[in-house]
Symmetry: C2
Amino acid sequence: MSQSLDAIFRPKSVAVIGASTRKGTLGREVFDKLLDTDFNGPIYPVNPNAQYIHSVKAYATLRDIPSQVDLGVIVVPKQFVLNVVQEAADSGVKGLVVITAGFKETGKEGARIEAEMVRILKANRMRMVGPNCMGVINTEADVRLDTTFAPTVPLAGNIALASQSGALGQTILEHAHELNLGISMFVSVGNKADISGNDLLEYWRDEKSIDVILMYLESFGNPERFVQLAKEVSRQKPIVVVKSGRTSSGARAASSHTGALAGTDRAYDALFRQSGIARADSIKDMFDFAMAFASVPLPQGNRVAIISNAGGPGIMAADACENNGLLVVDLSDETRSALREALVPDASVMNPVDLLAGARPREFQTALDLVLRDQNVDAAIVIFVAPIITNPIEVALEIAKVTHSFEKPVLGCFMGVRGVAKGIEELHKWRIPAYPFPESAARSLAAMVDYSDWLNSPKGEIKKFSVDKETARGIIEAAVATGESHLSSSRCQKILAAYGIPLVTAREGKCVDDLIEGSLNFPVVLKCSGQTVVHKSELGAVRLNIQSVEELKQAYEQICASLKRHKISRESVTFFVQPMLRHGREVVIGLSRTDDLGALVMFGSGGVYVEVLQDVAFRIAPLTNVDAEQMISEIRGYPILAGVRGEKSVAMDLITDVLLRVSQLSVDLPQIRELDLNPFLLFPDKEKCAAVDVRIRIAGKQPLH
Amino acid sequence: MSQSLDAIFRPKSVAVIGASTRKGTLGREVFDKLLDTDFNGPIYPVNPNAQYIHSVKAYATLRDIPSQVDLGVIVVPKQFVLNVVQEAADSGVKGLVVITAGFKETGKEGARIEAEMVRILKANRMRMVGPNCMGVINTEADVRLDTTFAPTVPLAGNIALASQSGALGQTILEHAHELNLGISMFVSVGNKADISGNDLLEYWRDEKSIDVILMYLESFGNPERFVQLAKEVSRQKPIVVVKSGRTSSGARAASSHTGALAGTDRAYDALFRQSGIARADSIKDMFDFAMAFASVPLPQGNRVAIISNAGGPGIMAADACENNGLLVVDLSDETRSALREALVPDASVMNPVDLLAGARPREFQTALDLVLRDQNVDAAIVIFVAPIITNPIEVALEIAKVTHSFEKPVLGCFMGVRGVAKGIEELHKWRIPAYPFPESAARSLAAMVDYSDWLNSPKGEIKKFSVDKETARGIIEAAVATGESHLSSSRCQKILAAYGIPLVTAREGKCVDDLIEGSLNFPVVLKCSGQTVVHKSELGAVRLNIQSVEELKQAYEQICASLKRHKISRESVTFFVQPMLRHGREVVIGLSRTDDLGALVMFGSGGVYVEVLQDVAFRIAPLTNVDAEQMISEIRGYPILAGVRGEKSVAMDLITDVLLRVSQLSVDLPQIRELDLNPFLLFPDKEKCAAVDVRIRIAGKQPLH
């Protein structure tokens, strides 16, 4: 469907329905902006009460326009919008930008009208941006489309930008302009009734004029599709995202603002990391990153050289680099002696290279050339602090000259206010990113390194295990039918068995006699479970290291006594005896499905540390083998799994395998809302690894989103 | 000594030694700046080759000046500096600002000359800023002193500022000016040969005109004194610090730049937290914080209300608040209904309050008034995103009016570029902090909340335990005399006993027969230690849960075999038998003394998690009881100590007690470089808690700093 977005972005003619004769109204501002920015085609104002608007002949309705209209921009009051949409459909209009607000964002009635609009669109193969949006911009020389009422006219360039907030859209355009960043296309997506971020990603993926995609997001329509698309697009060009509504109160605000539910922030981090997306923490960072991505080549590693004409800022840059995962590398002996030769005797030729305050443009040039030649160096940050004597424009020119003769990124940092602005402008003119603070340069370079690493990492594949899907599906459908939300232990066991996920075998029983039948392999563990038993250890409902039948009977009596104290009937619970696994390393493996993000697979340090330290990693299903491997190595407790102080590593392959099977399970059976394998015990021997306990919650009879 | 800094900051007369007739030279720039900024007293240029400089009669030497000179500003070439300092002393000059560079920062010879300068100063009761600095500024109306060569003339105001980087000093002054922040005094401290950050803190503490102190630091001269002073000063006024050289490469740069050694970054965090200092991550944050501290009252809690005329920025502010430890609080029902009444129907009256894009200045006023009246709200952030129709200056005025009728802080965030600058200026005029991004407002408010919490927390006291200091000192001095660096186990035990720090009693022996003499309380642990045994567990040199003499003998033989395999002679090690403590919770307690930061007491999660998760907290000794309590609750593993899932809490008092005793030990016996109590086992019963293993390293014969 993406090709049809040309109707929005590259119309041959535009009508402004609701154009007004009164200056200062939205209807007039939108019309004037289109006219002022010299749209390359006819613009028809539509207004039943006007003969002409801003000297252009007006039409009473869309139907009265004698020629083809490609794009309709709707600014009429909300009660007329639905009629206008129908009229547009009848008149053969291909695309709509609905600026008028007052639909889904205001409640049920608005949502109903919005749904009706979409119905008309689908029936007539039309596409729409909005409603409740600020419009679209395409700066291409042969299009020159700007339907926004923003006072800023963006510079032409190679950056595409989508904003889910109209108000912020304007601020965003202004900041881009401030930084001399050129915009190719801009969209304020509004309520996303038709065209969503996913459509834009797909459209922009193939646009040769677009080198970087920026998005300000508050919610996802279809997270699985977003991940899949973003992964594809990220292979072509970098995507930088600001996702707001990160934290609990942010999420609360988001849900009243856009009707979207937010998941936890770490899940979003996972989603972005998985998709190769650079996540920015603020609008400011988004542009800082964009400036780097849009202008200089990607670094091939994280080793950075810093050149400065002042010690302090050099140190601050070094700090910021290391804090962002960059390596302030040792320069080679050769580079150091060449620098020693070229610079004044007091200069420091360690990294950061300190040229001292007297440094002339020529010394910046020489030093930058030498460090970029160094095989140890992947990128450089050049810091200029304005002293009285050196001209920042000349310094910028020398930096530009050297930068363009290497395939390594150089980021400038020109500190100070007076005069320095001209140096920054000069760098921008030569397409070299330049920042007023070293921290911004470091963060931007780090974002490039992360993206470059992602591009260079194997894509991985989504493995398909041969499993017994039908058995698992049957169990779950039966449970859904009876309205259960938590599956019984025995059914959980069967599902895991069907998907080849190892679980410690347990003998189940309602009383002690069931448990001691036949032979037992001591030591064993006795526990009980049931709907009424939530925290087993608080109830004393788990007894470890039982050595004999005698001890087992005692333990059984103790649990029963505890149940009684807690007023839990013995009949409501089931008892299990399991072999006791010793010296395993505990982890937790889990699955959680949310409306906002789809199925999230979790891996983390186990035992009491899951709750207290929350040392976990997430990925959106389906997982590739690379995703699974990254999750494992990402948790802080990884060294414990790999073996500390001479211990052997646990069977990492087995973990990958289980994570992928859980992922497959989540895709095959979306009714599963939560699955917990906690604890999952790991050993060096793959055969011994197994989940000790399993819990599965299903959607029950609630509708699936 | 601090009163004597008046000679630097409030001289009645100034001489510029090295003033030059040539424009563009430092000697001329410094002289001209003093003249241009209208210093309130005579300025004497000193230059043997000039009759006059900038129309002012010049003198060949300081001695030729017929009147008293209070302050000498030295800009002569470095080879003449020592002579000039002597001449200044002979002429009764009271203070010096030495701008000339080329001393300690360039190596040994420079350091020697610098030391000689200090000798002359001390002999003549003179004070000095520098050398290698950018000078000092005092904007007080009746002083008007500016010896810097910076092109910026700061606004007068209530902020004092010290910078350890000259180059950055200039940038710092420019940024302050940009933000309309007024500076009272400024010092570029240079090499700190005489006047250090500590002297300035002491001087500024008592200055009524100074409300906020800002420092850019690269190293500490005397960390213990800094902590003590900063704690005192922080009770009077907030201190905001940027400390660079945080990370390893930053520290490397710092050591080549200033000759100072850097400790780890977390230790610095501890130091600042302990002293009530707000640590800023960048120069930008430092000024953002300063703007808040210098203008609005401190919040009495962390509950913030957000008002915005656009949804997106409101969400971003909420995110930023929660990420910085602020609470985006639920507004009271009363406030919500009042807002509902006052605002347009579509406005959101949840927090963040969304006034919508059409909001007029009056609506900002009403909403801000209502949320500040709310008992649940401690502070407000007001966000204005410039739409076409509303005038930012009027919005700023309304905000100012409301703000000044409450004793709660209000921070403004005016987003956008065009026109918004005037709104920000207006807010600054009314002394209301205003930022271009919500993240800056949130971080600044969080810094205020932290400071307010610190002020409200009890000061705590440094407890003096009655200990057997003489015994401990005797052991250590004997070890120092013999050149040992690690104390033997038995001597470690004696030191702990002397300081009342509990240690599991161990029986020591060179062979198995020593160990099995008399009765043993099984189960026991057998281990061996010695200079050659570093990681006991890798060697298999710790055997747990030994149940009988027979098993003990076996374990002994196994260890001996392992030692043999690792080519460690049995004679070089000592064996220990200890009772085995079970079910204790492991922590680590430690002490480490560095030249840069003094004695650091450490507390953290124990066992393998110390190494892998580095879940530790630090404080600089001496510790107050409040410091100790905060350390304990600060670690991530704290809930494990407090008891999860029905477990009892360990004896917290006992931990506090041990931390304070370790602190006292570090103060009494500075020869101790490192002490490790690892593991230290904790139980609910205070009597059972004890260190299982102890290691003490002493300074040996190395000189102490």
